[in-house]
C-alpha cells in the first residue's frame, strides 16, 4: 500500500532539499572559481624593478628548513613575466634555495624550485602546478638528506639538489618582476602564508618580520606567529 498523498509530500520535500543543496553547491563553486581567478590589472607603469611582500626571519644561526601553507592564488601577470609566492632558505642575498608557485604569461602555472650552485649561478626547475584556489604546503630543507637541499610540496619530496651553502635566513614572500604585475592577493582576497614554521635546532613558529618593498602599492598583515597575509592595494577582490 502506497500513501500517494504522503509520497507526494516526501517527494516535494526531497525535491526542495535537492534543489537547495544543488543551489548551495553552485554558489560555492561559483564563489570558489571567482576567488581562484581573481585577476586584477593594477594599471601601474612598467618600471622593470622586482618587488617583494611577505616576511622574513634572520636568526643568525643555521636554519635547517622552512615551510608554509600557501594559497595558490592566480594573479594578473603581464606578458613574458612571472609572478610567484614561495618559501626560501638563504645566506645573504646571493645564495638561496626556494620553492613555491609561479604563474607566467597566459595563466600558465608551475611549481618551481630554484637554488644557487657553488659558482653563484641560479638553477631552476619547473614542474606541474598545484590547483588554483587550493592551499599547498611548500617546504625547503637543508642537509636533509646530508649535503642536499630538498624541496617538498604537501610534505612530499619532489626534488633534491646539492647544497652549496649553509643557510642562516628564511624568507616567505610574494614576488613580482615589475609594478605592471599584480602582487598575489587583493584587499578582500588575501594571499595567505599560514602555518609557517622555521627549523632552528627544531621546528618553531616562523615569527618573522614583515617586509614590503613596494610601499603603499601593497599591504600585509601579521596575523599571528605562524601567519602573514599580503595583498595588492590596487585590487579589491
Amino acid at each position: 500500500m502506497i500513501d500517494h498523498h504522503s509520497f507526494g509530500w516526501r517527494s516535494l520535500r526531497l525535491l526542495v532539499t535537492v534543489v537547495a543543496v544543488l543551489a548551495m553547491g553552485t554558489v560555492a563553486v561559483v564563489s570558489g572559481a571567482s576567488a581562484a581567478s581573481a585577476k586584477c590589472k593594477p594599471n601601474r607603469p612598467n618600471d622593470g624593478k622586482a618587488y617583494w611582500d611577505g616576511w622574513e626571519r634572520t636568526p643568525n644561526s643555521t636554519v635547517g628548513g622552512v615551510y608554509s601553507q600557501i594559497y595558490n592564488y592566480s594573479p594578473w601577470v603581464r606578458d613574458t613575466s612571472g609572478v610567484s609566492a614561495w618559501v626560501m632558505l638563504n645566506n645573504t642575498s646571493s645564495k638561496w634555495a626556494q620553492d613555491g608557485w609561479l604563474e607566467s604569461t597566459g595563466g600558465v602555472r608551475y611549481t618551481f624550485v630554484q637554488w644557487t650552485d657553488s659558482g653563484g649561478a641560479a638553477h631552476e626547475k619547473w614542474f606541474s602546478a598545484q590547483p588554483v584556489g587550493s592551499y599547498s604546503y611548500y617546504t625547503t630543507l637543508w642537509n636533509n638528506p646530508s649535503g642536499k637541499f630538498s624541496f617538498q610540496v604537501n610534505s612530499r619530496t619532489i626534488d633534491t639538489e646539492s647544497a652549496a651553502f649553509t643557510p642562516n635566513e628564511a624568507e616567505i614572500f610574494g614576488e613580482i618582476p615589475s609594478l605592471w604585475n599584480q602582487m598575489p592577493g587583493a584587499k578582500q582576497n588575501y594571499e595567505n602564508f599560514q602555518d609557517s614554521h622555521i627549523y632552528i635546532s627544531g621546528w618553531q613558529n616562523f615569527s618573522g618580520t614583515n617586509y614590503n618593498t613596494g610601499g603603499s602599492n601593497f599591504g600585509n598583515s601579521h596575523v599571528d606567529s605562524t601567519r602573514t597575509d599580503i595583498w595588492d592595494n590596487a585590487c579589491q577582490t
Binding site: 622593470g48 612571472g82 607566467s104 641560479a122 614542474f127 626534488d159 639538489e161 618582476p177
Partner: protein, 155 residues
Amino acid sequence: MGQRMPNLKISRRLALVTVGAVTALAAFGATFAAAATPSPGPTLSSATGADLVQDGIQLQNPTSTATVSQAAAQQTALQAFLGSSVRETVLANFSDTHHVPAINALAWAVSLTFPSGINPTSEGPPPGHPGLKLSYLVVFIDATTGAFIEATSKG
C-alpha cells in the same frame, strides 16, 4: 758473411710477423673500443651535458620512436613559455634522477630563448638580481603523450 744471410731472413720474417700482429691488434682494439664505448647521446649547443648532469638530467640516444611530432612538441613548449622562441630541439631518452621519484621518458628536449631583458623566473631574495639572464631554458615534452614533463634553466 755466409752466416749473416739466414739471420737477415729471420729478421725480415720476424719484422713482417710483428707488423702483422700489431696491425691485427690495432684493428681488433679499434673495433672493440667502438663496440664498448657508447656513442655520445643527443646534445644541445645551448646547454652542455655537464650543465644538465649537475641538475640530475641526462640525455641518451632514443631507443624508440616518437609518436608526437617535433613540431607539436615545440608548440607545447612555446605555449608553456609564451614570448619565447625555439633555439634547437633533440629527441632523447630523458632522465632526471634528482626528481623524486626519478623520471625516465622518451622526450623532446626543446631549448628556448627569450628576448633580451626578459626573465620568466624569481630573482631570488631582495634586493634581487636584475641582471640575472638565463643562459638556457630547456623544456622536456613527453614524446609519447605530448605532455609537459618539466623545464630546467640556469642563470
